[in-house]
């Protein structure tokens, strides 16, 4: 099994969750109110104070095939609005 970590602007949450649903992800977990800094933009921390502009951290545990399907849908969102996506190994307890 794989673990996918997605971190991106909360504003894109609906788009990303729809992409996950379309890729038939078996489930996901969303943590809001994350802040941070990316390579180009000192974005999110600047704007957290009003509730605008903070990030969402989404975790998906799923099989490799689903990761492959998620990739296409999500990459364009992340490249436009910023955000990161990383995959690592995970074994069910």
């Amino acid at each position: 099994m794989k673990r996918l970590d997605l971190i991106f602007s909360e504003r894109e949450l609906d788009a990303v969750l729809t992409a996950l649903e379309n890729a038939k992800a078996p489930g996901y977990t969303v943590m809001k109110h994350a802040t941070g800094r990316g390579p180009e933009r000192v974005v999110t921390e600047d704007m957290e104070f009003t509730g605008f502009g903070s990030n969402a951290h989404v975790i998906v545990f799923c099989e490799q095939e689903i990761i492959d399907q998620i990739r296409e849908n999500i990459k364009s969102t992340l490249s436009y609005y910023g955000g990161v996506a990383y995959v690592s190994e995970a074994i069910p307890l």
Partner: protein, 331 residues
Amino acid sequence: MEANLILQNVLSPPILFFFLGTIAVLLRSDLEIPAPLPKLFSLYLLLAIGFKGGIELEKSGFTGGVIPTVGAAILMSLVIPLICFIILRLKFDVFNSAAIAAAYGSISAVTFITAESFLESQSIHFDGFMVAALALMESPAIIVGLLLVKIAAPKNRPHRKPMKLGSILHESMLNGSVYLLLGSLLIGFLTATNNPAGVEKMQPFTGKLFYGAECFFLLDMGIVAAQRLPRLRKAGSFLICFAVLMPIFNAFLGVLMAKALSLGPGNALLFVVLCASASYLAVPAAMRMTVPEAKSSYYISTTLGLTFPFNIIVGIPIYMSLVNKLIPTVS
């Protein structure tokens, strides 16, 4: 006389709490108002000024200066970003210039509130319909900013989604804070028309509590502004000058326009403050999503770290004496 007005302004609770927040950061106290509590206060303030504005709008009706004043305010929010853009292009690329310009064309609701409190403390009358002007100046500035990007920089944007007019309008009109302000204005108006008892029952929440909540929010704004300040230094002296001189210039434009509209001194001050203030909420939120190429640290550290404190501390009293000088009151 200006010094006296400034002193009176500085010794009012909202400004004192703003200082308290600023000094907390400078002294590295661990005072913090954790998210999402500031959001509670910003939502409350928008709801309350909208609602109160709607009630006043119902009182004054749409006669007299309402339509021309609101129209002039919208005009200012279209013109000011263009002027700013031209100045900013001397130093910055299209993306950053457009984003900063949009912020200065738009308004800061908290600056407006502070000006209202200032007028109340001076017992100077102003009209509720100015809130309508406040609400209606945010969207046009965003639209101008996005159009500037669309026109001036179509080819430099590789791999970017094409920006559609529809989504520009959506971003500018349905922004949470614009929407809440306009919606509450409408609700206030409808309630005042149909349900005077409802107005009465809202009064403790939207009226009485307002000043205290404003103080609490300004405490947080002081913290946030002071945290943004160091980044401004990185942004360079051009932007620092811009953040202080541009509001003054815009205030001048505003005073002239207020004179042309023959507004009373209270409305004139609010009009000037709308022109002079810059948005650090709605516009940055919209720009971050639609012009990700612009550096948010530029448009936030200028508007929030410098222009906002400048306006609420010394700007408002200076603009007041400007109004008093240029617009003779009928005695």
